[in-house]
Structures are given as structure tokens and as C-alpha cells.
Symmetry: C2
Subunit: 407 residues, 2 copies
């Protein structure tokens, strides 16, 4: 089928119009910052104008600001196979990694290792290293090569912290198998779903995961710096005294007692006052996602990626792009990456043409496929632009080699 | 002078029109959630519509989202006597308490105590208690009676954590004297400025403070759940390896290295991706504040509070309201509190009349004075409403005794 035919047959096609996308742009970076749902504008305006401006302090009750972390968390839970009361939207992904890691350590006081893989996203590995220096207990943040993770899980490991879909390559881990392996060795499993939630079907309950964190501003389209996601399996919630003992996680926050007493359930993992503006925008993105069928999202994601790889084949051959993602869709999330020594400059030239992907050091060009708003026609056109960038050596200009603060 | 005369002579009067306040409401709760600057609506809309919707990922550079924590932090720094590069806007107040406390502990590895006072706001004391359970090192979160703080500072104390202006009573601590006392005993001083920043003149540099945290959504009018504030004195910044080792605090975040290497300066205390919507609204509130003269703000704050206390005198006598705040303005922040056994119901009845203050368990009625938008006429009218509530026993109705989720 041609790209146009694929788009004509796409059951998700109507979602495209629910997003505000700029004219003349092919956006393949929804894995970094999701596009804006049109409804976000009205909702945020409502919060600013009515709930804050008119309701003022009464909106904590009247507009149920107080219930946002749990309400939005439960909605996200439906996208990642969690039960009611197992997910909250709160803080940043980094802070949630810290909370989950400390919780896992507290469940296994005689173990000392938090295990992850080299090249995992910095959010995960730096937070692990911070815990290493913080606690007097001999905690060790251990990083091994990706293919050695399974061998490295032993009786010293308190928690395994892995990103299900790798941010650079898009390689997807087998959640059920690794969780089960961790459990056989008595270790807790923490999944980072930053590139999974809204990108691929996730079943935390089915996999038996212990903890998970995720990101609100990528595939969930929650807006820049949207609150993060924290999942704690029900069976662990009452066993953990949170390391970040916040007043919003207290059993009776408005009693203002001197002694921290954790709230029942997932609420104990809340820390400070919820960021209401960010929460409101995130909820719009999540609500929109809940209208879609996740199996259809996955099918279209694979279709877009396969079309991209197919069309890229002659460019790979001619210009030396090396596929950095698994060729098998079953082992890949919703992105496709290529390595190229001039990757940075090539991506800048491509962006100048209105095709927005991104670059990850040292040599990765990343293309994210977001089935709610990306079309097959756009994918095909993106490859044509890339061909033109290479044929006309557009990348070989000084301005394309100048690095920005954010790459 | 009459309230009308005081308002006519008020140099800050023009600021009132810069805020969106609902008709028929006298808002005396800006110490809990500041009112909305009118300009916040347009700015947030610009972020949602243009920067997110059109700029998408490029806005991290183009709209300088990446620079928000430092840029807004430096602006706030001017309101609290900090130097350039000593303040960032980030995370929540609670998370910042955690960061400051862990930093102070790391500066004094041989000391074990974090000291605060009983009845301090839960954000502070709960985070202290979380650190106590987290670290293997014998850290003790010690709470003493407010009047015993100075005696309790000794050689075992790593850090003293105090709220400058108490959230219930408005009692203001002498920042310079206590900081100097802490230093004489070799302890670091952490100030919680939640009820100080934008409420009273603060001089962190003059006082020699080591760390400070603060709140963006109270007197700074940054919007519900606005990002918090963290101050780290320049002399300490390079000595501390942050416990919350975040990728935004890395020396080279976009190099995606496996090893955490703290950024130079205050940037190392950043953790995750900044909440852009909340940051944008906060900046509007801070910019507006920077137009005002802090000495004039303080003078009007005292004038409003003195008028309130004066008008309350007959009610206190007749109905048993006991002043819970220091009578001397020099010892008080920008709020006045009264105790009354029926405080909760009385506040509900008052709110029904459109006078919004708040209640703090067990018996405190709290009235905040925010000189940028509160008038003397409103203060006088608020007391008249309260008189009517008491005279007509409006508080003595079942619906006013029903507690809400947020009080």
C-alpha cells in the first residue's frame, strides 16, 4: 500500500485533528516532547482564569485540585496495566526514581546493590549514584553492559532499575521475563516507562512489577515539564516508609502534626503541593489517549516505523546511515534511530527543512512515531527531505555544526 | 486616618489593578495561595499556544525554557537578599528542604542532628524525619519547643532548620541573630522563607545564611503549586555533591554520560525537567513584585495588620478571640492570627460572606495581608463581617462545621 492508502485505512486518523501542529512541520520528536492537544489551551485557561483567578484558595476543594495526583494517576494506570490506587502523577521522573529506589532498598535491608545497565538514561543512573553517596549503608549503584544485566542479578541486588524502551535505540526489554528473573533472586524490579507509557502496550500487573516511573510530557502529551508518574504495587505500599516524607503524603496533612505518619496506600508517596497548571495540561493529554485503542496505537506505530525503515534503506546504503534500533518490531518501542558520524549537523539541516527529530550524542539521529498524530505520508516525506539534505550536502554548513544548550 | 484616607495615601495602590480578583470577595488568604496577576493569563497562553504548540521541542532553546530555573531564581534572589547564581526556582518546597538538609549534613559528616522547633510547618519536619530513616548514618531529626531552640544548638547539630515567619502565628524569627548563633556552634543554618519571600524584607546575604527554601505560590503570586525556591550560599555550592543527583544538575546533561558529574554552581541542585507552565506563571508573579519597593510593601503590611488588630479589639473582648500573633509588628510577618474554640465554623461562615481567610488546626483563624492587592477598606470591612458572623451566630450551623479535604 502507498502511504496515502495506509493513511486512508488508519482507524486512528481522526485523532490528528485533536492536536495543534504547526503548518509545514513534520514532527517526529513526540518521544521528547509530545505535541499539544488542542483542548489543553482551554483547560489551562480555565485553571488560570476561573479556578485560580476566581476560585482562589477554595479551588483546592471546589475544583478538586487536591485529588489531581490520584485521579490523573488512576487514568494513567489504565494505560500501563496498573490497578486503581497504584499510580500517582507527581514530581519529576527523577524524583520518582529516587522514591522507588529508596523504597526498594527499604524492602531489602540486607542487600546493597541497585543494578542498572550502562548507557541507561541519566535520570536513572544519576539518581542511583546520589543514593549511593547519601546513605551510610553500603549502597552500590552498579552498572553493567546491557547484555550482562540478566547474569548480574544475584542475591546482593536489592533492586533492578531498567528503562523498558531505551531512549537512544528504542530497544524494548521483555518486562515479564526480567521481572520474573529479578524475583527469582529476591530483587525488586523498577521499570522506567518514560519511552513506554503511551508508546507501547504495558502490563505492569501482568509482569508482576514492583515499582515503575514514567514521564508525562513525551507520548502522553502532557506539556513541557509535565508531572512524572509513580507506580507502587499495592502489595508494597503499606510496607514502605517513604524516604521523601512529604506533608502531602501524611495520613492527615491538615492536622499539621509534628510526627510523620504515612497516608494509607499510594498517597504516602506524594511529597509537596501538586503543580496544578502542569497537572491540568497532563490530564488533557491522558484523557485524549484513553479514547484510543492501545492495540491500534501499537499496530500503527509498527506500520509507521516499518515504512520509515523501508524508505531509509537506499539512504542507509548510499550515505552510511546504520540502523541503531532493533530491526524486529517486537523488540522495539515507538522510535527508530540511526547512527551517522555527521548526525548532529544532518539533524540540524533536517530541522531547517521542517522535519523535527532529534540528536543524541555521540552519533544518534532519533525519529519518534506518535500514532495519534503522525501520518504515513509524513514519514515518507521525512525520508525524502533527508535524501535531499544528503544529496545537496545541506548538513555541511557551519551553522548546522554549532551546538545549542539543548540538543 | 480612616481606611479610605490610608488607601488614598497608599503608594502601592496602583498594583491592585494588576491582579484579577473576583467581585464581592475580600481575599485575606494570599499567604496560602496568592491572587492571580492579570498578566499570568496571557503569558501562560503564550507558552501553551506558541511555545509548546508551535515551537514544540525547539522552545527549550528558542524560548529559553532551559534557562528558566536560574533566570527566575535570580529574580527571586533580588527579593530575598541573595546574589546572582545563588537561587534557583525548582521542584517543590519539600524537595528543596530535602536537598538543603542533605547538603548541610554532607558539610558536617561528624555531626548527627538536624534541629527544628515543635510546631514548625510539616514540610520541614517531615522531610527531616524522612532523612532520619533513610540514612544509615545516625541522623536525628530533633524538635524542641520554640523558646528552646537557641539553647539546643550545640556541637552535635549539623543544621538548624527554621521557618522565619511561622505559618500559624506569623511570629518572625531574627534571622541574623540565630544564623550567627548557629555558626558560633559550627552548625549550618537553613531558613524556610515560605511566609517571608514577598511578605517581609529578607537579607540572606546580610544574615550569612547557608541555605534557604521558599514557596512560589504564596506572597509571590506564582499560581497553584508553583515551583519552589532553593538558595545555596556561593561558598557552599562547589563543596556539596547533591543527594538528589539529577540529570538537569549534571555538568553536561546532553552528553548523557554514565557517571554523575555535578554542574558548577547552583545548577547542580537542579534535578529533573523544569515544569515549564508553572515556571512561566511564577515568573509573572515575580516580575510584578520586582516593580514594587519592598520597604513600601513592609510599611503597608504593618499598616494593614495594625488596622486589623485595632478593629478586632472589641470583638476579641466580646467574643473571646485571642491574638495568636505577636502584638509588636517587628516580631510579625504579614499575617495576623486569632485563636477561637469555634475557629473552624467561624471561618466557614466568614467565607460564605465572601471574606476569605483560612483555618489552621486546632483553633487558629488566619488572616494574610498582601500589600500589593489588599486595601485598608477591605480590612475594615472584613472585621465588620466577622462582627456580624458573631452577633448573628452564623457560625453555629451544621454546614459550617463539616470539614473539607483542604482546610
Amino acid at each position: 500500500m502507498t502511504p496515502a492508502q495506509l493513511d486512508a485505512a488508519d482507524p486512528l486518523a481522526p485523532f490528528r485533528d485533536r492536536f495543534a501542529l504547526p503548518e509545514g512541520v513534520i514532527y517526529l520528536d513526540g518521544n521528547s516532547l509530545g505535541a499539544r492537544p488542542k483542548a489543553a489551551e482551554e483547560r489551562v485557561l480555565q485553571v488560570v482564569r476561573k479556578e485560580w483567578g476566581e476560585g482562589l484558595i477554595t479551588s483546592w476543594n471546589q475544583a478538586d485540585w487536591i485529588g489531581m495526583p490520584q485521579r490523573i494517576g488512576d487514568k494513567i494506570g489504565r494505560l500501563i496495566g496498573a490497578g486503581e490506587g497504584e499510580v500517582i502523577a507527581c514530581d519529576s521522573t527523577s524524583i520518582n526514581v529516587f522514591k522507588a529506589s529508596c523504597a526498594a532498598l527499604s524492602l531489602a535491608p540486607e542487600r546493597s546493590v541497585i543494578l542498572s545497565e550502562r548507557g541507561n538514561f541519566p535520570t536513572d543512573v544519576y539518581m542511583m549514584q546520589g543514593i549511593e553517596t547519601l546513605t551510610g549503608r553500603q549502597v552500590r549503584a552498579q552498572l553493567v553492559q546491557p547484555d550482562q544485566i540478566e547474569d548480574a542479578i544475584d542475591g546482593s541486588v536489592a533492586a533492578v532499575l531498567l528503562t523498558q524502551v531505551h531512549y537512544k535505540t528504542g530497544r524494548m526489554r521483555d518486562m515479564a521475563r526480567i521481572t520474573s528473573l529479578a524475583h527469582r533472586h529476591g530483587a525488586a524490579m523498577i521499570w522506567d516507562l518514560s519511552h513506554s507509557a503511551g508508546a507501547v502496550p504495558v502490563d505492569l500487573t501482568g509482569a508482576g512489577a514492583d515499582f515503575a516511573v514514567g514521564c508525562g510530557y513525551k507520548y502522553l502529551n502532557g506539556g513541557p515539564g509535565a508531572p512524572g508518574i509513580l507506580y507502587v504495587a499495592k502489595r508494597h505500599q503499606e510496607k514502605v516508609i517513604p524516604a521523601l516524607a512529604g506533608w502531602f503524603g501524611h495520613a492527615a496533612p491538615f492536622a499539621f502534626e509534628d510526627r510523620y505518619e504515612p497516608a494509607p496506600g499510594i498517597a504516602r508517596f506524594l511529597v509537596g503541593t501538586p503543580p496544578v497548571l502542569g497537572m491540568a495540561a497532563l490530564e488533557v493529554g491522558v484523557d485524549l489517549f484513553l479514547e484510543a485503542d492501545m492495540a491500534a496505537v501499537r499496530a500503527k506505530s509498527i506500520s509507521l516505523a516499518q515504512l520509515f525503515i523501508e524508505r531509509m534503506a537506499p539512504l542507509a546504503e548510499a550515505w552510511g546511515f546504520a540502523l541503531a534500533s532493533p530491526a524486529d518490531p517486537a523488540e522495539r518501542g515507538s522510535q527508530v534511530s540511526y547512527r551517522h558520524p555527521e548526525g548532529y549537523a544532518i539533524m540540524q539541516a533536517l530541522i531547517e527543512r521542517g522535519v523535527i527529530g532529534d540528536f543524541r550524542a555521540p552519533d544518534i539521529l532519533r525519529f519518534g512515531f506518535t500514532p495519534l498524530y503522525t501520518t504515513h505520508a509524513e514519514v515518507a516525506a521525512a525520508v525524502e527531505h533527508l535524501a535531499a539534505v544528503m544529496e545537496q550536502r545541506e548538513w555541511d554548513r557551519p551553522e548546522h555544526k554549532q551546538r545549542s544548550a539543548v540538543t
